[in-house]
């Protein structure tokens, strides 16, 4: 395997960030998965050396700047999710797409739960069930996202 370069990872993360903060109509906004988290998950599973926990941390910090009420909230959630993905990357990588999607669903649920908990502790409780929807859509979109992210590295190989 030739490990994808840092530039490539950063580029895809930036594109994912733009997709994440792109203004959308409200109903679509609820459905939109957090693309940046999907991208970070993909790289932590497929390039655990380059896309490291640091990637998760800084991607989370970026999300905090864009949409976090408390600085560090998304950073903590994404660090945790990245850690799980990096730890388990061997097991996840060879699973069929469906099981990967299940894992992604779990990871997104953990991610959202951390956000939810910190929201509550920091005094911005958002109890709407709509906040969990993106875990489902994220899992559903995992296969195409992974295919797109993996496209380049397949060509290099």
């Amino acid at each position: 395997m030739n490990a994808p370069g840092r530039g490539r990872i950063l580029f895809t993360a930036l594109v994912a960030l733009v997709l994440t903060v792109l203004p959308l109509p409200p109903w679509l906004d609820v459905l939109r998965p957090v693309f940046l988290v999907l991208a970070v998950l993909y790289w932590s599973v497929n390039a655990p050396r380059t896309g490291d926990i640091a990637l998760g941390f800084f991607a989370g910090l970026t999300l905090d700047v864009f949409q976090g009420p408390v600085l560090g909230q998304h950073a903590l959630a994404l660090t945790l999710v990245t850690y799980i993905a990096v730890r388990e990357h061997q097991r996840i990588r060879y699973k069929p797409a469906f099981q990967q999607a299940l894992f992604v669903f779990g990871a997104l649920a953990v991610y959202e739960f951390v956000l939810f908990a910190i929201d509550g502790w920091s005094g911005h409780p958002v109890t709407s069930p709509l906040r969990w929807v993106h875990a489902v859509t994220g899992a559903l979109l995992w296969a195409p996202v992974a295919a797109i992210l993996g496209y380049g590295s397949r060509r290099h190989a």
């Binding site: 998760g56 945790l80 993996g150």
Partner: protein, 397 residues
């Protein structure tokens, strides 16, 4: 998923190090959160980060902006002429009205025994363009293209030509984030213009409605009432229009009325908003307590000086969440003029500022510490407030 087959499985080879790094980064994140939330040390860092984020936000907004620009440049001459005529008529109207307004202002000043009419409370204002919009049920925020280099400060009032929009929460060098009055985390102290009754309007999470969760069931309010800012809370000066009551629902078993109001500002269609600076020495100006002001300037924990009460969306809150409006009996009969109430207020506000700061984020909510008119019996609305005109106002409804 062929994409996953390409990478050769390779042992982690850095035994335990992911765990170590996870601990490290998690600790950093927790420290950052603590500093940001409790100590407000990170305003500078946020300032820098916001500056870094601005190009992305601009880029993200460029397709809609380009589309709007194209549409504008192909607008037909007829439509522009029609719009021009309409604007001219509108301006004439406003000028006439402001003539009258100046006369009233003068008269008001004389009545108050002042030598001369006061200058308007708004000192200067600045138009800002909306760069990015977040209008979800969780967050109602705007990003505008003015920042600290334009003199924008945190917790500054943002208006449009019809009413209140919100206030700034994070200020970067060239941009600022505005929390809308409809954000579920935002609450604005308001006064019902017809009666003078003061209460709090909380965002409901959609761009077209505010909730007034703290009105007792026998409060004198009806749909169509205008809500204006009450000047408490230290951010908005008093008297600016906020919303119009659209729905009043009284339930015999609920101690509190269920009231909804529609914001007057066109929050979801505006493309430009106004940032306003107010004269600090004006009697109608927002009157922050020394404490809350310091906290605003150095960055509050929850960014907005009047943060929402625990459950903004919970429609009829628990009775003890909202002590019945203490000044309701006094305020309801005659609308107290702003002067006498804002001047002697100063003292109680300062003495009160000490305790609610940490616990309850709203610095100057209208209730001046009232333990005694405690929670009314949830089932019986009658003994809730000993308001002489309560039954009559109920029948009028």
């Amino acid at each position: 998923m062929a994409a996953f087959g390409t990478a050769a499985g390779r042992p982690l080879g850095r035994g335990g190090s992911p765990g170590f790094r996870f601990t490290l980064y998690a600790a950093v994140a927790v420290v950052v959160m603590y500093l940001d939330q409790r100590q407000h040390y990170l305003e500078q860092l946020r300032y820098v980060l916001q500056a870094g984020a601005y190009p992305v936000q601009l880029a993200v907004n460029s397709p809609p902006a380009a589309w709007a620009w194209i549409r504008r440049s192909f607008e037909s001459r007829d439509r522009l002429q029609a719009e021009n005529a309409r604007l001219r008529a509108g301006q004439r109207d406003l000028e006439l009205r402001s003539m009258r307004y100046e006369a009233l202002e003068h008269e008001n000043g004389e009545l108050r025994g002042l030598r001369a009419a006061l200058p308007p409370v708004a000192d200067r204002w600045l138009a800002a363009e909306i760069v990015n919009v977040q209008l979800s049920s969780l967050r109602q925020r705007l990003l505008i293209d003015r920042g600290a280099v334009n003199g924008v400060f945190k917790a500054q009032a943002v208006l449009d030509d019809r009413g209140l929009i919100g206030q700034t929460t994070h200020v970067g060098p060239w941009s600022a984030e505005v929390i809308l009055i409809t954000d579920p985390e935002h609450a604005v102290p308001v006064r019902i213009e017809r009666t003078g009754l003061r209460t709090i309007a909380v965002g409901a999470g959609d761009a077209s409605s505010l909730a007034l969760p703290y009105l007792p069931a026998n409060a004198d309010i009806k749909s169509g009432d205008l809500l204006v800012t009450s000047g408490l809370g230290g951010v908005f000066p008093q008297g600016y229009p906020v919303a119009r009551v659209t729905e009043v629902h009284r339930d015999a078993v609920q101690p509190l009325a269920h009231v909804r109001a529609a914001p007057l500002a066109h929050i979801d269609t505006d493309s430009e908003v106004m940032l306003v600076w107010f004269r600090a020495d004006h009697p109608a100006a927002p009157r922050p307590t020394a404490d809350s002001l310091g906290e605003l300037r150095s960055g509050t924990s929850s960014m907005q000086p009047q943060a929402a009460p625990p459950q903004p969306q919970a429609v009829p809150p628990r009775p003890q969440a909202a002590p019945p409006r203490p000044q309701a009996p006094a305020a309801a009969p005659q609308p107290a003029t702003p002067r006498p109430q804002s001047v002697p207020r100063k003292q109680p506000a300062e003495s009160q500022a000490a305790e609610p700061k940490a616990a309850a984020p709203q610095p100057a909510t209208p209730e001046p510490a009232t333990p005694e008119p405690a929670t009314p019996e949830p089932a019986t609305p009658q003994p809730a407030t000993p308001q002489p005109d309560a039954p009559q106002s109920k029948e009028g409804q």
